[in-house]
Structures are given as structure tokens and as C-alpha cells.
């Protein structure tokens, strides 16, 4: 598959995520959109890893592990994402406990 396709696909997903962050007010949804962004990145990583693998292979090195680092990185991203989710949801819940809303527009005590 041409690498460009993957680049564009994941950039598109990434941008969709950003648009989501920009347009929604529900903290949870915003958070989900961020997760979407992360997944877009993951996809790109994997695509690139395969690309570099192909380069190495065509260079004649059959038993290469080139490109695996990309997928390892994806693995780490997932780890971090999981951790973030646990903390993030905790914070959101705490917020909800206090103001009974997850609407970020109510977050305006701090300004100027």
C-alpha cells in the first residue's frame, strides 16, 4: 500500500479528533476525541514501521527487526493512554461529584 494513504488517513483521523476537542463541551467526549487522536498516531506508527521494514527487506536483510520499534512505541502509547484514562476519568468523576456536570464551559472560575 502507498505510505501516503496511511499518512493521510491518520492525519484525517487526527484532525477529526482535534475538531472534536474544539467543538464539544462534554469533558468525556473531549477526552474520547483525544483518544481518537492517539489512535490515529498509532496507525501511523504501524504503517511507518512496516514501511521501514520493507525498506530493510528490499535492502536484502531478511531476518531484520527493522520497524519493530515503531510497534513497540505503539505499545507504550497504549500503556500511557491506559494510565491517562484511569487518572483522567478519576478527575472527571471528582469534578462531577462537585458540580454535577461535565460541561467544560462551567470551568470558568479561573480566568484573566
Amino acid at each position: 500500500m502507498p505510505i501516503n494513504y496511511y499518512i493521510f488517513l491518520s492525519i484525517a483521523l487526527f484532525s477529526i479528533g482535534i475538531v472534536g476537542v474544539l467543538t464539544r463541551r462534554n469533558a468525556i467526549i473531549i477526552f474520547m476525541c483525544i483518544e481518537l487522536m492517539l489512535n490515529a498516531v498509532n496507525l501511523m506508527f504501524v504503517a511507518f514501521s512496516k514501511m521501514h521494514y520493507k525498506v530493510a527487506v528490499t535492502a536484502g536483510d531478511i531476518a531484520t527487526t527493522a520497524g519493530s520499534e515503531g510497534q513497540i512505541f505503539v505499545f507504550f502509547i497504549m500503556v500511557v493512554a491506559a494510565a491517562e484514562v484511569s487518572v483522567g476519568l478519576a478527575i472527571i468523576v471528582m469534578m462531577y461529584r462537585n458540580i454535577h456536570s461535565v460541561d467544560v464551559n462551567f470551568l470558568n472560575r479561573l480566568k484573566h
Partner: protein, 630 residues
Amino acid sequence: MQNDLQIVYLIPLLPLIGFLVNGLGRKQLSKSMVSLVGCGTILASFIISVWVFMEVRGGNTHVANYFDFLSVGNLEIPFAFQIDQLSSIFLLIITGVGFLIHVYSASYMQEEKPEHFGRYFSYLNLFVFSMLLLVMGANFVIMFIGWEGVGLCSYLLIGYWFKKTEYNKAANKAFVMNRIGDLAFLIAIFWLISKLGTVSYNEVFSPANLAKLKTADITAITLLLFVGATGKSAQIPLYTWLPDAMAGPTPVSALIHAATMVTAGIYMIARSNLLYSMSPVTMDIVAYTGLATALLAATIALKQNDIKKVLAYSTVSQLGFMFLALGTGAYAAAVFHVMTHAFFKALLFLGSGSVIHALGGEQDIRKMGGLSKKLKITYITFLIGCIAIAGIPPFSGFFSKDAILLSAYTRNPLLYSIALFTALLTAFYMFRLFFITFTGKFRGTTEQEHHLHESPAAMTIPLIILAVLSVIGGFVGIPELFMHGGDKLGEFLSPVIAVHEGHAVTASTEYILMGLSTALVVVMIIFAWSRFRNYRQREETGFGKVLENKWYVDELYEKLIVNPLNKLGDFLNKVFEKSVIDWLVNGVGRVVNYSGRQLRLLQSGQVGNYVLLMVISMVLIFALQFFLRK
């Protein structure tokens, strides 16, 4: 070789000591003590001056170097005195007349409180000191020191009675107007320095250096010096301070504003006559200014009613004559007139002082009259003074004035005729003054009349001495054609003053001129006698009023110079400073504050806006990076 004249520093030093003693000890010393110190020091320096004069006549002139006053780079200004014919003459005049006036003051100021008495004498000594510096200095800077020094003293003495605001204002006026002249003087000095790199007379007037100077430079320098002179010697346009200066005690007016200080300008120009002779333009300007001043002052004097004011304007007018002499190249004549003028003007002032003293401070001649009976000595001496100034032979005034008129005539008859006319005016207003004051019947209050009395000896003796001098003083400069080997003064001064081409007039013309002037003067006197023999006052009208108000010159200056400056200053102070400069400075602060207040609003507190702003700036930066920077 160690010249005896090295010790001339004593001459100024003694008055300085007198000043310090009287100034510091004015609370402790008794009046008699003070006057002793005051007069003693001056007497001492007078004696030394006489000795010096003898030395100089013996042909021993000397420049006494004491220490480096200012020496920067290749500019060297030593603190040095120059003793030659010119300065020795002035020494005599200053210390001599000065001494007499000191003595006179000792009794004139008796009513003052002790410490003020002391103050007065210390000022007086300080003045003599500065005046001596002025004439003894061997370079222009030392002269300038004395120059400003005498200005200061006149300021202090005019404002001597410092409770009276009027007097203080007069004092300030005198000082400031002098300062204007001084500035010109200073610039002239700088000009000399920039062209010749020196200010010592010997070097400046050395033919080599004079040759170096371009005509333009000379004209500029001489003109600037002359402006300085107009300040000090009360010439147009800077003369208005002198009449106001009469606020000071009368002896002061006699000493400073008649006999000595005001002649400093004459001295300066006579001193630098070599420069002046090289610049005909300046010469003309000097001559015409002098003449104009003489005429103007004379006209004003016609209508003044304050005895001292009349004398003051006559002084201005006489000074005008001297400048006329200078301008026509008759330096010796000018100096001669300085001397004679010192005698008779001092005499007149002191006489008026005696009158004022007798009337308990009355200065308005309309309230006087018929004093001849009570104040005999004053009366006679005053008369002598008037004759002298009017110029009747053989009184001193005649010879000196005649010399001036003659040189004017040689320059051109027009000058002569105006000068002559002025001389006649002089005779007229002087005798007007004389008759109104001494003849007719007394017009003052009765109790004034009661204690009318002749002044004490300490005041009359100086009068007498001065009277004698005004009678015989003229003979030192008596013209050749009266007495062979006359004009002693002229030839005495010849080493320092280039004797200008001798009169191109024949003896006969000279006789005619003299006769003419004398005759007219006599006529004038008689005319005055007929009008003011028994005077009763009436309101001045028309032209008379203009004269009485001194041609409104003071008001003119007020309108043209003082008020605009004040307005400007007020504007700068109230408007420009606050609402332009400071406003700009504070404006920066305000801008910062304002933008701070606006920028805060960007911090809206909304996560959405934050992200939006971040994304937008990301887009911009991407665009900049990828599409704009090619």
C-alpha cells in the same frame, strides 16, 4: 630681576583685608573701629599707589606674575598684575577718590546699626578690591574677575537697605544687565583664545599677534568687548540700570556709579585701543552709540526732579562723551575726562548727599530751594562742581570736554555740533538743578526747615578737596596752545595709548571752537538762571512728560523682552513640561497598563477557546514554515 613693583599685590590686598575684618567682625567692632579699618586700608593702598605712580613716571613698568590661575593644555592664564601708565592713573583715581568717599561715608552712615555699618564698609572695601583687580589685571580674565566683582558689589550696595523691595529689584536689574554685558565680554575672551591662544595684554597686543588677526575677527572681538562696556558703563541699550542704581546710599552712587565702576568700560577700551584702532567700523559704532547716549541721557536729565536721578543721567551722558572720545580715537582725552569727571561728579554726588543728609533723606528738588544760606560749603562746592561739568575755563571739565569736542570736530563737524548741543544741555540741566536746589525760597516742610544744618567736617572736607581737584584737575591735560609742554597726561599715556594723528586743525579754529562753546555755555547758564531763579512746580505736559518718563524706555523693555520671556517660561512650566514631555513619559506606562488589561481578556477561562487559539497559531506557524518561507 626682582622688580620693586612686585609688591603691588598689596594695593588690592589691603582693601580685601579690610573687607574681611569688617565683614567678619561687624558684630564685634565699634563703628569708629570699622571706619578706621575701612578708611585706613584704602589710604594705605592710596599711598602705595602714589609710590607706584612715581615709579611708573620714572619709567618703570612691570608685569607681576603671582601664580597660575587657569592653565589648561596650551592655554595659560596667570594671576598677574600689570603696572603701567594707564593702570597707575586709574589706581590713583580709584584709591584717591575712594579714600575721600570712605571718609565721607564714615559720618554719612552714622545712623546705621553697627553691624550694618560694618557690612557697608566691608562692601565698600570689597568694591575697591574688585575695582583694583579690574585695572591692575595683566590679562582679560583677571580684568573680567574684577569686572564681575564690581558688578557684584554694586548689586550688594544698591540693595544695601534690603528691606525695601524696590531697592532689591533695582539691585537685581543692575546685576542682570551687567551680566548681559559680561556675557559678550566672555565670548570676546573666548574668541581671543581661539584665535591667539592667549589673553595677556602683552601677547595679545604684540604686533605679531595683531597681524595674525583677520579684520572680521577684530571687528567681532571689539564689538563684543564694546557690548560688555555698554553694560558696565551704562550706554545704550543697557543704560537703564544706572538711574535705578541711585537706590543705594549716596556715597555709593558717588564712588561706584559716578567716579569709578562705570568708567571700567572706558578703561577696557582704552586698554585695548590697539585692537580698536584696527577696526574703523567698531570705532564708528562706539562713537555714535556714545553720542546718542549722551544726547538721550541729557534730554532725560532736563526733566528729572530727583536730585540723584539728575546726576545719574548726567553721568550717563558724560560717559557717552567719553565713548565719543574713544570712538573718535581720542583715548587720552577719554581717560582725561574719566579723571576730571571722577572729581567733579564725585563732588556733585557728595554735595547732593550732604543736601539729602541735611533734609533728612529728602531727594525731591521740588521740595528744596534756598539752601544756599544754610549749607554754605555744600553750596559753594556744588557750584564749583556745576561749573566744572558745564565746562567753563579754567575748570577741569572744560579742558577734558574740549579735547573730546575737538576730536569729534576733527572726525566730522556733524558729530561736533551734536556733541556741542549736548554739552549745552548739560550746562542747562545742571544749573537748573543748582538753582532749584539752592536759590529761591525753601519749599519743604517746616520741621525740615528747622534742623537744616551744614554737614559735619568729615563730610565737608572731602567736598572741599574734591572741589579743589575739580578746579585744578584740568591742568594735567591742558592743551599745547595754552601752555608749552602741556597735555602732560597725553604724553604720559603715550606708551600704552597710540596717540592718534594730532589735531588737523589750526590754532585759530581751536580758539574759535573753544570760544564758541564757552560763550554758548554761559548763555545757557544765564537762561537757566532766568527760568529757575525762583522755581515753582507745575505739571509737566506733552514732550516734557515723555522726557520726565525717560522716553518710556523701561516700559518698552518690559513689553518687548521681560514679559514675553515670562510668558514663555510660564507656558513651558505649566503646559509643555506637564502635558507634553511628562505626558509622553507616563504615556508609555499607560500603554503598558492598558495592553495588560486588554491582554487579560484573552485568558477567557474557557478550555475550548484555549485549544482553538492554540490550533489557530499552529496552523499559522505551519503555514509560515511551509508556504511563506520559500
